[in-house]
Protein backbone atom coordinates (compact mmCIF):
# COMPACT_ATOMS: atom_id res chain seq x y z
CA UNK A 1 0.00 0.00 0.00
CA UNK A 2 1.37 3.33 -0.95
CA UNK A 3 1.58 5.79 1.89
CA UNK A 4 0.79 9.17 0.53
CA UNK A 5 2.72 11.00 3.17
CA UNK A 6 5.87 9.14 2.20
CA UNK A 7 5.84 10.31 -1.34
CA UNK A 8 5.96 13.92 -0.44
CA UNK A 9 8.60 15.90 -2.14
CA UNK A 10 9.81 18.55 0.17
CA UNK A 11 11.00 22.00 -0.70
CA UNK A 12 11.43 24.90 1.58
CA UNK A 13 7.96 26.32 1.21
CA UNK A 14 6.25 23.39 2.88
CA UNK A 15 7.09 24.70 6.29
CA UNK A 16 4.78 27.31 7.64
CA UNK A 17 7.25 28.85 9.97
CA UNK A 18 10.55 27.68 11.22
CA UNK A 19 12.18 28.83 14.37
CA UNK A 20 14.47 27.44 16.98
CA UNK A 21 13.30 27.37 20.54
CA UNK A 22 14.32 25.58 23.69
CA UNK A 23 15.37 22.01 23.42
CA UNK A 24 13.55 19.06 24.84
CA UNK A 25 16.45 18.58 27.19
CA UNK A 26 17.68 22.18 27.16
CA UNK A 27 20.74 21.30 25.10
CA UNK A 28 19.40 21.84 21.67
CA UNK A 29 22.75 22.80 20.24
CA UNK A 30 23.70 19.19 20.05
CA UNK A 31 20.73 18.57 17.82
CA UNK A 32 21.60 15.92 15.39
CA UNK A 33 25.31 16.50 15.70
CA UNK A 34 27.54 13.61 14.69
CA UNK A 35 24.69 11.68 13.23
CA UNK A 36 24.78 12.97 9.75
CA UNK A 37 21.87 15.27 10.48
CA UNK A 38 22.42 18.89 9.70
CA UNK A 39 21.37 20.82 12.78
CA UNK A 40 20.65 23.85 10.65
CA UNK A 41 17.93 21.91 9.01
CA UNK A 42 16.35 20.63 12.19
CA UNK A 43 13.26 22.68 12.36
CA UNK A 44 10.18 23.27 14.35
CA UNK A 45 6.95 23.71 12.50
CA UNK A 46 4.62 25.94 14.40
CA UNK A 47 1.43 24.69 12.90
CA UNK A 48 0.34 21.55 11.23
CA UNK A 49 -1.13 22.16 7.87
CA UNK A 50 -1.90 20.22 4.77
CA UNK A 51 0.77 22.23 2.99
CA UNK A 52 3.26 19.95 4.74
CA UNK A 53 2.20 17.57 2.03
CA UNK A 54 3.86 19.26 -0.87
CA UNK A 55 4.37 17.96 -4.32
CA UNK A 56 7.20 20.28 -5.22
CA UNK A 57 9.96 18.82 -3.13
CA UNK A 58 13.00 16.87 -3.99
CA UNK A 59 13.68 14.85 -0.90
CA UNK A 60 11.24 12.65 0.90
CA UNK A 61 9.59 13.44 4.18
CA UNK A 62 8.64 10.53 6.39
CA UNK A 63 5.92 11.27 8.87
CA UNK A 64 5.55 9.95 12.40
CA UNK A 65 2.32 10.75 14.19
CA UNK A 66 2.45 11.06 17.96
CA UNK A 67 -0.92 10.12 19.40
CA UNK A 68 -2.27 8.23 22.39
CA UNK A 69 1.21 8.45 23.91
CA UNK A 70 2.78 6.38 21.13
CA UNK A 71 4.80 6.95 17.99
CA UNK A 72 2.98 5.80 14.86
CA UNK A 73 4.64 3.91 13.32
CA UNK A 74 6.86 2.80 16.20
CA UNK A 75 9.42 1.61 13.66
CA UNK A 76 9.82 3.64 10.51
CA UNK A 77 11.95 2.63 7.54
CA UNK A 78 13.34 5.54 5.59
CA UNK A 79 15.89 6.13 2.87
CA UNK A 80 19.23 7.74 3.62
CA UNK A 81 18.95 11.51 3.42
CA UNK A 82 15.22 11.65 3.98
CA UNK A 83 13.69 14.05 6.45
CA UNK A 84 11.54 12.83 9.31
CA UNK A 85 8.73 14.87 10.78
CA UNK A 86 7.00 14.15 14.08
CA UNK A 87 3.48 15.56 14.36
CA UNK A 88 2.12 15.77 17.88
CA UNK A 89 -1.58 15.01 17.91
CA UNK A 90 -1.61 14.31 21.64
CA UNK A 91 -2.86 16.73 24.29
CA UNK A 92 0.52 16.98 26.04
CA UNK A 93 3.98 18.16 25.02
CA UNK A 94 6.41 15.55 23.73
CA UNK A 95 9.96 15.47 22.41
CA UNK A 96 12.28 13.00 20.74
CA UNK A 97 15.83 12.16 21.77
CA UNK A 98 18.30 9.64 20.38
CA UNK A 99 18.44 6.81 22.91
CA UNK A 100 21.98 5.46 23.05
CA UNK A 101 24.16 8.57 23.26
CA UNK A 102 21.60 11.37 23.09
CA UNK A 103 23.43 12.50 19.97
CA UNK A 104 20.36 14.38 18.77
CA UNK A 105 17.38 15.77 20.52
CA UNK A 106 14.35 17.70 19.40
CA UNK A 107 12.87 20.86 20.66
CA UNK A 108 9.83 20.42 22.82
CA UNK A 109 6.88 19.59 20.58
CA UNK A 110 3.73 21.08 22.13
CA UNK A 111 0.31 19.62 21.43
CA UNK A 112 -0.74 20.37 17.87
CA UNK A 113 2.75 21.21 16.65
CA UNK A 114 5.44 19.33 14.77
CA UNK A 115 9.19 18.99 14.59
CA UNK A 116 11.24 18.07 11.57
CA UNK A 117 14.72 16.60 11.30
CA UNK A 118 16.35 16.92 7.90
CA UNK A 119 18.76 14.62 6.11
CA UNK A 120 18.74 11.62 8.39
CA UNK A 121 21.76 9.47 7.66
CA UNK A 122 21.82 6.82 10.37
CA UNK A 123 19.43 4.41 12.03
CA UNK A 124 18.64 5.15 15.63
CA UNK A 125 16.47 4.24 18.56
CA UNK A 126 14.80 7.23 20.13
CA UNK A 127 12.45 8.04 22.99
CA UNK A 128 10.45 10.86 24.50
CA UNK A 129 12.58 12.34 27.28
CA UNK A 130 9.42 13.65 28.95
CA UNK A 131 7.57 10.34 28.87
CA UNK A 132 10.26 7.71 29.16
CA UNK A 133 7.95 4.84 28.23
CA UNK A 134 7.46 6.20 24.71
CA UNK A 135 9.99 4.64 22.35
CA UNK A 136 10.53 4.56 18.61
CA UNK A 137 13.04 3.49 15.99
CA UNK A 138 14.27 4.91 12.70
CA UNK A 139 15.73 2.39 10.30
CA UNK A 140 17.75 3.99 7.49
CA UNK A 141 17.93 1.94 4.38
CA UNK A 142 19.77 2.61 1.12
CA UNK A 143 19.62 6.00 -0.58
CA UNK A 144 16.40 6.49 -2.35
CA UNK A 145 15.89 6.97 -5.99
CA UNK A 146 14.17 10.30 -6.48
CA UNK A 147 11.87 8.95 -9.08
CA UNK A 148 10.84 5.96 -7.09
CA UNK A 149 7.65 5.92 -5.13
CA UNK A 150 8.20 3.83 -2.07
CA UNK A 151 5.81 1.60 -0.28
CA UNK A 152 4.73 1.99 3.28
CA UNK A 153 5.47 -0.39 6.10
CA UNK A 154 2.44 -2.63 6.53
CA UNK A 155 1.66 -3.45 10.10
CA UNK A 156 3.79 -0.82 11.71
CA UNK A 157 1.30 1.95 11.79
CA UNK A 158 -2.00 2.02 13.61
CA UNK A 159 -3.26 4.67 11.27
Amino acid sequence: MIRLHKILRSNSYILLSIFFLTSCNTSSKKDAANTGVNKDTVSRISKIDSTLVSKKNESLVDTIIISDMNFHPAVIKIHKGDAVIWINKDMVTHCVTEAKTKSWSSLQIPAGEAWKMMAVEHSSDYYCAIHLVMKGKIVVEKEHSASKIRSGIPGNSKF
Partner: protein, 177 residues
Protein backbone atom coordinates in the same frame (compact mmCIF):
# COMPACT_ATOMS: atom_id res chain seq x y z
CA UNK B 1 10.66 -6.57 60.30
CA UNK B 2 8.80 -3.78 62.03
CA UNK B 3 9.66 -1.40 59.19
CA UNK B 4 8.40 -3.93 56.66
CA UNK B 5 5.17 -4.43 58.58
CA UNK B 6 4.61 -0.68 58.81
CA UNK B 7 5.19 -0.22 55.09
CA UNK B 8 2.84 -3.10 54.28
CA UNK B 9 0.17 -1.59 56.53
CA UNK B 10 0.57 1.76 54.79
CA UNK B 11 0.17 0.17 51.36
CA UNK B 12 -2.90 -1.79 52.47
CA UNK B 13 -4.40 1.37 53.95
CA UNK B 14 -3.74 3.29 50.74
CA UNK B 15 -5.28 0.50 48.68
CA UNK B 16 -8.37 0.50 50.88
CA UNK B 17 -8.77 4.26 50.59
CA UNK B 18 -8.45 4.17 46.81
CA UNK B 19 -10.74 1.17 46.45
CA UNK B 20 -13.24 3.02 48.56
CA UNK B 21 -12.86 6.10 46.32
CA UNK B 22 -13.38 4.07 43.19
CA UNK B 23 -16.46 2.27 44.55
CA UNK B 24 -17.81 5.57 45.80
CA UNK B 25 -17.41 7.16 42.39
CA UNK B 26 -18.95 4.18 40.63
CA UNK B 27 -22.14 4.39 42.65
CA UNK B 28 -22.54 8.14 42.07
CA UNK B 29 -24.44 9.50 39.10
CA UNK B 30 -22.75 12.59 37.72
CA UNK B 31 -23.83 15.36 35.37
CA UNK B 32 -21.45 16.86 32.79
CA UNK B 33 -20.66 19.94 34.94
CA UNK B 34 -19.88 17.58 37.82
CA UNK B 35 -17.75 15.36 35.61
CA UNK B 36 -15.81 18.42 34.47
CA UNK B 37 -15.23 19.31 38.11
CA UNK B 38 -14.01 15.79 38.95
CA UNK B 39 -11.65 15.84 35.94
CA UNK B 40 -10.12 19.18 36.92
CA UNK B 41 -9.87 18.17 40.60
CA UNK B 42 -8.21 14.84 39.83
CA UNK B 43 -5.57 16.61 37.74
CA UNK B 44 -5.04 19.35 40.30
CA UNK B 45 -4.54 16.78 43.07
CA UNK B 46 -1.63 15.24 41.20
CA UNK B 47 -0.11 18.66 40.49
CA UNK B 48 -0.21 19.29 44.24
CA UNK B 49 1.54 15.98 44.96
CA UNK B 50 4.21 16.90 42.38
CA UNK B 51 4.74 20.21 44.14
CA UNK B 52 5.56 18.39 47.38
CA UNK B 53 7.94 16.11 45.48
CA UNK B 54 9.75 19.10 44.02
CA UNK B 55 10.23 20.46 47.52
CA UNK B 56 11.27 17.25 49.23
CA UNK B 57 12.93 14.88 46.80
CA UNK B 58 16.59 14.82 45.84
CA UNK B 59 16.17 11.93 43.43
CA UNK B 60 16.62 12.96 39.77
CA UNK B 61 14.22 10.29 38.47
CA UNK B 62 11.54 11.27 40.97
CA UNK B 63 12.00 14.97 40.27
CA UNK B 64 11.78 14.42 36.53
CA UNK B 65 8.63 12.36 36.95
CA UNK B 66 7.11 15.03 39.18
CA UNK B 67 7.91 17.72 36.60
CA UNK B 68 6.17 15.67 33.92
CA UNK B 69 3.11 15.16 36.13
CA UNK B 70 2.93 18.86 36.87
CA UNK B 71 3.20 19.90 33.23
CA UNK B 72 0.95 17.22 31.75
CA UNK B 73 -1.85 17.58 34.28
CA UNK B 74 -1.77 21.36 33.95
CA UNK B 75 -2.04 20.89 30.19
CA UNK B 76 -5.08 18.67 30.66
CA UNK B 77 -6.68 21.21 33.02
CA UNK B 78 -6.06 24.01 30.52
CA UNK B 79 -7.72 22.05 27.73
CA UNK B 80 -10.61 20.99 29.96
CA UNK B 81 -11.17 24.60 31.05
CA UNK B 82 -11.00 25.78 27.43
CA UNK B 83 -13.57 23.18 26.45
CA UNK B 84 -16.05 23.88 29.26
CA UNK B 85 -15.70 27.60 28.57
CA UNK B 86 -16.53 26.97 24.94
CA UNK B 87 -19.44 24.75 25.93
CA UNK B 88 -20.57 27.31 28.51
CA UNK B 89 -20.49 24.61 31.16
CA UNK B 90 -19.53 25.62 34.69
CA UNK B 91 -17.77 22.81 36.57
CA UNK B 92 -19.88 21.93 39.58
CA UNK B 93 -18.46 20.76 42.87
CA UNK B 94 -19.93 17.44 43.90
CA UNK B 95 -19.56 14.51 46.29
CA UNK B 96 -16.83 12.83 44.22
CA UNK B 97 -14.68 15.94 43.74
CA UNK B 98 -15.12 16.78 47.44
CA UNK B 99 -13.98 13.32 48.45
CA UNK B 100 -11.03 13.54 46.07
CA UNK B 101 -9.98 16.79 47.70
CA UNK B 102 -10.52 15.50 51.23
CA UNK B 103 -8.47 12.36 50.61
CA UNK B 104 -5.78 14.39 48.86
CA UNK B 105 -5.41 16.62 51.90
CA UNK B 106 -4.75 13.55 54.06
CA UNK B 107 -2.23 12.17 51.57
CA UNK B 108 -0.48 15.53 51.30
CA UNK B 109 -0.05 15.60 55.08
CA UNK B 110 1.31 12.05 55.06
CA UNK B 111 3.76 12.85 52.26
CA UNK B 112 4.85 16.12 53.83
CA UNK B 113 5.56 14.35 57.11
CA UNK B 114 7.90 11.83 55.48
CA UNK B 115 11.62 12.15 55.98
CA UNK B 116 13.66 12.92 52.85
CA UNK B 117 14.91 9.34 53.04
CA UNK B 118 11.43 7.83 53.02
CA UNK B 119 9.70 10.39 50.82
CA UNK B 120 10.60 9.09 47.36
CA UNK B 121 9.13 5.66 47.89
CA UNK B 122 6.01 7.03 49.57
CA UNK B 123 5.48 9.52 46.74
CA UNK B 124 5.99 7.10 43.88
CA UNK B 125 3.92 4.36 45.56
CA UNK B 126 1.11 6.87 45.91
CA UNK B 127 1.50 7.92 42.26
CA UNK B 128 1.14 4.32 41.11
CA UNK B 129 -1.93 3.76 43.28
CA UNK B 130 -3.46 7.15 42.46
CA UNK B 131 -3.10 6.74 38.70
CA UNK B 132 -4.62 3.25 38.88
CA UNK B 133 -7.59 4.68 40.76
CA UNK B 134 -8.00 7.66 38.42
CA UNK B 135 -7.74 5.47 35.30
CA UNK B 136 -10.45 3.24 36.71
CA UNK B 137 -12.66 6.22 37.53
CA UNK B 138 -12.21 7.90 34.13
CA UNK B 139 -12.69 4.65 32.24
CA UNK B 140 -15.57 3.15 34.19
CA UNK B 141 -17.39 6.16 35.57
CA UNK B 142 -16.65 9.47 33.88
CA UNK B 143 -16.54 8.42 30.22
CA UNK B 144 -19.67 6.23 30.34
CA UNK B 145 -21.65 8.92 32.18
CA UNK B 146 -20.58 11.90 30.06
CA UNK B 147 -23.32 13.20 27.79
CA UNK B 148 -21.51 15.85 25.75
CA UNK B 149 -19.53 14.32 22.87
CA UNK B 150 -16.65 16.81 23.07
CA UNK B 151 -16.23 16.34 26.81
CA UNK B 152 -16.34 12.58 26.33
CA UNK B 153 -13.72 12.83 23.56
CA UNK B 154 -11.46 14.87 25.82
CA UNK B 155 -11.72 12.28 28.59
CA UNK B 156 -11.00 9.52 26.10
CA UNK B 157 -7.88 11.41 25.02
CA UNK B 158 -6.77 11.81 28.64
CA UNK B 159 -6.90 8.07 29.26
CA UNK B 160 -3.71 7.11 27.35
CA UNK B 161 -1.90 9.98 29.06
CA UNK B 162 -2.87 8.56 32.46
CA UNK B 163 -1.84 5.06 31.39
CA UNK B 164 1.57 6.31 30.22
CA UNK B 165 1.94 8.11 33.56
CA UNK B 166 1.19 4.87 35.39
CA UNK B 167 3.76 3.00 33.33
CA UNK B 168 6.30 5.76 33.96
CA UNK B 169 5.52 5.71 37.70
CA UNK B 170 5.98 1.94 37.82
CA UNK B 171 9.33 2.36 36.05
CA UNK B 172 10.48 4.91 38.63
CA UNK B 173 9.08 2.74 41.43
CA UNK B 174 11.52 -0.01 40.45
CA UNK B 175 14.42 2.46 40.65
CA UNK B 176 13.45 3.82 44.05
CA UNK B 177 14.31 1.48 46.88
Amino acid sequence: MKKGTTLFSAIVLMALVLTSNSSFAQTTKLTDPEIASVAVTANQVDINYAKIAKEKSKNADVLKFAATMSKDHQGVIDQAVALVTKLKVTPKDNAVSKKLNADAEKTKKTLSAKSVKDFDKAYIDNEVAYHKAVISTVQDVLIPQTQNAELKALLEKVLPVLKAHLEHAEMVQKMVK
